[in-house]
Structures are given as structure tokens and as C-alpha cells.
Amino acid sequence: MSDTAISVRGIEKSFKDVHVLRGVDFDVERGSIFALLGSNGAGKTTLVRILSTLLKADAGAATVQGHDVARAPGEVRESISLTGQFAAVDEVLSGRENLVLVAKLRHVKDPVAVADELLARFSLTEAGDRRAATYSGGMRRRLDIAMSLIGKPRIIFLDEPTTGLDPQARIDVWRTVKQLAEGGTTVLLTTQYLDEAEQLADRIAILHRGTIIQNGTLAELKQLLPPAEIEYVEKQPSLEDVFLALVGETGEAESESGATGEPGDADASTRKEAR
């Protein structure tokens, strides 16, 4: 029991006639990364909202860090942090002000120092005093995740953390998530990207039509299919490999300028002229 950070039993939820969750069960081990995999509309976000006390379930029970989400939502909120599907940053405020705001609301000692430390850790120091509205998608997501780390919550919910990000920004987010888990934080993330679950998760649950249809480690899930046959295939680099090799995998230059689209555009116009 003490090793279970999140426990979900028979959770159901309907919106009017739509039965979104039809009895969901799973456990998440403390300090692990658990991925909820599912297509759009599978009910991932609804489940995360229930676990983060934003919605009440119609039936079933769930505990987070040992606290029942329905009966002790206050205690649950003390131990969690939610990074929603859309970067929940205040666009009018600067990155630093966003962090200070959350730090004050979490009653952290010395909010300004906490903000500075996180800005540095997420390579946002230079942009720290600019309004968040001027940030790129990747920067905004980094700020969003940085805001979620304030107060060192034991459990972090990440709802589709990399949707809409470019490849480098995705890798940045993945690295952050792995670091969190290494530090002992439990991470529950939802994703519709199979490779993301494969890259990150200790356990993967597939949510389909409101129930968990499969739950296991990557190796266990792979065993569901007939044993692998050995075939010889020419290894072609994927487009992602090519892209990352060309622009550099570190993602250091990522962010402010949107220069990436240009060469492609130029190609398109020359091709048109050639015709």
C-alpha cells in the first residue's frame, strides 16, 4: 500500500448521455512514470481532472498519496501538481512573475529565489522578464512545467505535455520528466503518442472507450503479440533522425526565432518556377 502513489478503482463519469469513463482501475507505483495512452476522446483528460480534484466522479473511488480525491480534496491538492493540456500560464505576466505568483500561492519561502532558480534550470533566464505571451510554444511549455514543480509536489500530472511541440522541445520535456522521476516524483502522463509512452513510461495503460484495456510494462505489452520473428530490414533513418541531425539534438537554439520554415518555403517556390 505504501508503495502506491495513485490508486484508481471503478471510476465512472458521464457527461449528459456520454459515458466517458466506464469503470477504470489501475495503480501507480511511487516514483514511477505511468503513461495513460489513448486516442482523442478516450477519456484521458477527464480521468486526470478527476484525480486532480477538478471533477467529481459519478462512481468508484480514487486515492492520491493515500488521500481520497472526493473526501479529502484539500490534502490531495497539497501533494499534486497539474500541468494541463493547454499551457496554463498567465500571458500578461512575465515568466518570472508567473513563477513568483505560484510560489506565493504555494507559500514557499523566498518566492523570488525559487523563481530565479527555475528560470535558470529551464533555460528561461534571458526571457524571464518578457511577457509570457511573447514565448514560443516550447518556452511556454517549459514555463508551465516549471510552475508545476514549485513546492516540490510528490505527484505530477502531465496531460499531453508534448502535444503541439516541435521535436527538440519534445525531447526537452522528456528529459525533464525523466529527471523528475529520478528525483522520486511520481509522474502520471497522458499521451496519444506511442513513442512518448515507449520512451518514458515504466508502465503503460491503454485507455480505450472508457476502460483500461491493457496495463503493463513495455516488455509485457510487447509479449501480447506473437513472438518476434527475425527479419532483415534495411535501416532507414526516420525523418526525425534527419531533422535532429541537421539542426542539432541539444535544442539550445530552440525558441525565439521561427527561422526553421524558410528553406522549405524557398524550395517550394523554386520548384514552382521550374515548372
Binding site: 491538492r77 499534486i80 493540456q85 493547454f86 499551457a87 496554463a88 505576466l93 500561492l105
Partner: protein, 254 residues
């Protein structure tokens, strides 16, 4: 958790006041329409209006203009609340260990501050337009108290609108009838100049008693029984709007 409620409300109020400081146009646009109305009525139409007293028309008009200022100012509260709901920051606050009511109260307190600033600007312009008052300090405090009650009552209505709106336009549309209400009251012309049914409506709607009370306070005259009608309306609207807002808020979280 409740021990932090006041501190949390303070932090969140600071946040939305910063929003206003970064876009002061919200305060200026709130003040511009009432000032334009004031100029129009005092310098164009006012000469033809007989208020039945020797007071200058601007003295007669100002209380109603102040209410119009507030009625248009509260629309920004529903607008800002709606944007918070849309943007996801609302969810972030709700999933944090802070008092849930703090999120709404921060918007309400911000509305009080912003509207008082707009009201001060309008009063300043009125003074330039030779508005004069013999109100004592006590009367001024009374006027401020009534205006703050009016802001609170309408702001909680704005919270209802902001929480239940489906679009940005919908969030602020609720204020149009509120802005129009002072026209069918004693704010611009005495109600006895209106035809029967209209006069009946004008005399029995909240704006008239509020306007008459503020006008009497500005003129240094006794307010009579009208202040009780005004207060009953204000407290009544405040309680009902607050109740609705909290009910909708709770429903949103279930």
C-alpha cells in the same frame, strides 16, 4: 486551508490588478462613454430639460452617470474571468492547495478598485464641468459606501455571466441592459415627466432610489426613507447574485 484564504486572495488580487496596470485602457474606456454622455446631456440636451429645481443640470445628472460608469466597468470582470477559464490558469489554481473562493474574490476586489478609479476620473471631469457639492465628509462616505455596494452587487452578476458564458462576447453582453437601465429612471429627467406605465416602472426600479439617495447626499439634503429602499435593492441584488455565482461555481467543479 482557510487560514491562507486572505493571503491567497491578496496574491491573486495583486495578479489581476497587475493585468489592469498593463492595460489601463480598460479603465479609460470604462470612463470615456459616461464622460461623453455627460458632455452630451449637459451641453447639448440639458438646456431643454426641466428638472424642477434650481440646481445646475450637471449636479442633477452626475449620480446616474456614476452608475452607468460602474455598469459598463463590471463587464471587464466577466471578460477577465472568462479568459482565465479559457486559458487553463483557472484549472491550475483550482488544483492547488488554495482556498477556492479566493479565485473569485480576487476578481471581485479587482473590480472594486478598477471601478472606483473610473468613478474618480468621471467625478474629476464633472468637477471641471462645474459640478459642485456641499456634501460633508459623512455624506461622501455614504456615497462611497453606496457606490461600493453597487459595484459589489453588479460584479457578482458579472461573475455569474463570466462563469456561464460560452464566448467572450457573451461574457460581457450582460452589461448592456444594466447600462440602459438608468435611462428609464430619475437619472436624466424627473420620473413625473414620463407617461403612466413608464413612470411606474421608473419609480419602482432600483436605479431611481439609488440615484435619488446619492443626489440628496451630494446636495447636503436629508435622504429620507429612500435610502432604505436603495439599500434593500442593493443588498438584495448582492445576495441573490452572490448565491447564483457560488452555485454555478460549485456546479462547475462537480
Amino acid at each position: 486551508m482557510t487560514t491562507h484564504a486572505i493571503a491567497d486572495t491578496g496574491v491573486l488580487t495583486g495578479r489581476s490588478l497587475r493585468h489592469i496596470l498593463r492595460s489601463p485602457d480598460t479603465i479609460i474606456t470604462t470612463a470615456v462613454t459616461p464622460i461623453a454622455l455627460m458632455l452630451l446631456f449637459v451641453y447639448v440636451l440639458g438646456g431643454a430639460i426641466n428638472t424642477g429645481s434650481d440646481e445646475s443640470y450637471i449636479n442633477y445628472l452626475l449620480p446616474g452617470i456614476l452608475l452607468i460608469t460602474i455598469a459598463s466597468g463590471v463587464a471587464y470582470t466577466s471578460y477577465r474571468l472568462f479568459l482565465d477559464l479559457q486559458g487553463g490558469i483557472f484549472d491550475r489554481f483550482q488544483s492547488m492547495p488554495i482556498a477556492r473562493s479566493s479565485v473569485l474574490w480576487a476578481h471581485v476586489l479587482t473590480s472594486v478598485v478598477a471601478n472606483l478609479v473610473s468613478v474618480a476620473i468621471v467625478v474629476g471631469v464633472a468637477l471641471i464641468m462645474e459640478f459642485r457639492t456641499g456634501a460633508s465628509v459623512g455624506a461622501w462616505l455614504g456615497i462611497a459606501g453606496i457606490l461600493i455596494l453597487f459595484i459589489l452587487a453588479l460584479t457578482w452578476l458579472a461573475v455569474v455571466a463570466g462563469l456561464s458564458a460560452k464566448s467572450v462576447d457573451g461574457a460581457s453582453a450582460f452589461s448592456y441592459p444594466l447600462i440602459f437601465l438608468p435611462f428609464i429612471s430619475s437619472a436624466f429627467v424627473p420620473t413625473d415627466s414620463m407617461p403612466g406605465p413608464v413612470a411606474w416602472f421608473a419609480e419602482n426600479q432600483p436605479v431611481t432610489s439609488i440615484v435619488n439617495t446619492i443626489r440628496a447626499l451630494f446636495a447636503g439634503q436629508p435622504v429620507g426613507g429612500e435610502i432604505w429602499i436603495a439599500l434593500a435593492w442593493l443588498v438584495g441584488i448582492l445576495v441573490v447574485a452572490y448565491g447564483f455565482a457560488i452555485a454555478i461555481y460549485r456546479k462547475k467543479l462537480s
